[in-house]
């Protein structure tokens, strides 16, 4: 009796494991093909990567222009803002590259409106894996690279000795950020099962969020601050961890305490929310029928 149930358990575990392994192999294969395809158009790839890099550089050039006139902005020095900006940029770029299949600007018009999602549904493979491996925007390396340069520069310019705990948490923050932004994109493509026309509002959370988190949250008004703390908990994956890393108090509400360590929870929460909505969307999906 006992051995029977443990054997059953083992076989369940075994089949679950082999499914994960199968999906992982499939994912790697499809992404490999994507990358090779993009490298076929070498010039195009280089141009797009340059555009990504340049587009991001401009954001930081603006910060530099401000600092040509000011010693601090919202009580933050240039390297401090660099850290904030770098963490946000790299996390966003990574998410945007990996999760591109769920980029609602692609998913809504193509998968849902044109009904390409039909094809995904009839294949006997995990839906999530299929969508995830349908796109991989390598050109985002330009954006990620620019963010990484600023991040590296900020870390040097701050001229501190970072403890192993701080370095570990910095990496945790980055990963949480990737989860968070990915969750937002998945949420957006989930919404597209109901509406494609008004998807642009999602840009407020994704691109808007990334833009907003490049600056310390203190410079915004009460409404935006609360919105990005309580409604879309983006402050936890960037602003509060950075405060902790820099030993800075939150100007508005005193010591930050445990708020600094909410990043992984915030990231996981957003990701889970996105996936949940997307799954509901799949059940809601009715093909365009053409």
């Amino acid at each position: 009796m006992k051995t029977e149930s443990s054997a059953a358990l083992q076989s369940i575990f075994h089949s679950a494991w082999s499914e994960v392994a199968f999906n992982w192999r499939l994912y790697r294969k499809l992404i490999g093909a994507q990358v090779r395809a993009q490298m076929q158009y070498r010039t195009s790839f280089i141009l797009e990567a340059i555009a990504q890099f340049a587009g991001n550089v401009l954001d930081f050039v603006v910060v530099l222009i401000f600092f040509a006139r000011l010693p601090t902005l919202g009580g933050w020095t240039l390297p401090e803002i660099g850290l904030l900006y770098g963490l946000s940029s790299v996390a966003f770029g990574l998410a945007d590259m990996v999760i591109a299949g769920f980029d609602y600007a692609y998913f809504g018009p193509n998968m849902v409106r044109l009904g390409e999602f039909d094809r995904v549904l009839i294949r006997p493979v995990n839906l999530f894996v299929q969508v995830l491996s349908s796109q991989f925007t390598l050109k985002r390396l330009g954006r990620i690279g620019q963010g990484a340069i600023v991040l590296g520069w900020a870390l040097l310019a701050l001229d501190r000795t970072w403890t192993p705990l701080q370095i570990t948490y910095m990496i945790v923050t980055l990963v949480s950020g990737v989860c968070f932004f990915s969750g937002l994109f998945i949420f957006g493509s989930g919404l597209s099962f109901w509406t494609v026309d008004s998807l642009e509002v999602m840009n407020m959370a994704t691109y808007g969020g990334q833009f907003l988190t490049q600056y310390p949250l203190t410079i915004y008004g009460e409404f935006l601050r609360s919105f990005f703390t309580f409604v879309i908990p983006m402050a936890f994956i960037n602003y509060f961890p950075t405060l902790w890393l820099l030993n800075k108090p939150d100007r508005t509400s005193g010591p930050i305490g445990l708020l600094a360590f909410m990043a992984p929870f915030s990231g996981m929460l957003m990701f889970a929310l996105g996936v949940a909505l997307w799954r509901r969307g799949v059940r809601h999906y009715a093909s365009t029928g053409s």
Partner: protein
Amino acid sequence: MRLYLELAKKSFQRQVAYRTAALAGLITNMFFGVLRASILIAVYNAQTNSVPNYSVRDAITYTGMTQAFIGAVSLWGWYDMIKSIKSGEVASDLARPYDYYNFWLAQDLGRSLFQLFTRGALGMLVFIVFFGATVPSSLGQWVWLAISTLLALLLSFSWRFLASAIGFWTTDAVGWMRIASLGILLPTGFMIPLAFMPGWLQTLCYLTPFPGMLNTPVDIYLGRATGVEAWGLIGLQAGWLIVLMALGRLAAYAGRRKLTIQGG
């Protein structure tokens, strides 16, 4: 001429069809406006009189105006013409008995004006009512603004046409268009008012046609350029427009000889 008016009108009407999208766009546009304005206000909070002769109210008005222009000047890029070259549709466009350059110019103007008078004007109205953006007070300013805005739209088109014309030679035109649109965000004055920049950078920007696509109408709206100075800036816009249009027509002429139609 009637034909081109008709094309512009049709293009204008096509835009009307996407009302939900337009509303979503407007809300998003407002949100980004608030973000951008917050950052500029923070600069003033850090140091009063950060920029001489540029008040906080000017900065807020600037943000409203630049947000209002985004759609009209297709700030993030314009891919209609590139798509038609890539798909081979261009063959029938070229075979039709009208001028290829004017064909796109008329359509883009229809689209631009629609964007300006719906999304743009509504957005600006919200900025005026809720955020205290200013309104030009003299008739002269309105006249200069009208001329300068029209020139800005045309200048923007002539630049986008040039970038699109690359499509006659290469299949990578989309990448070039992205660079052509992102690359001018700073000198157009979209990222930051030209007045905020250090002197040498301002001079550098004014050596290009790009301030005429955005910064000039905004400066006129703000009353920062009046009288002779306003006419001077308008003249500069017109001058660059002639240059860019001539180059665009040249590119279209050379391109149609070079063009290989894809497809079958």
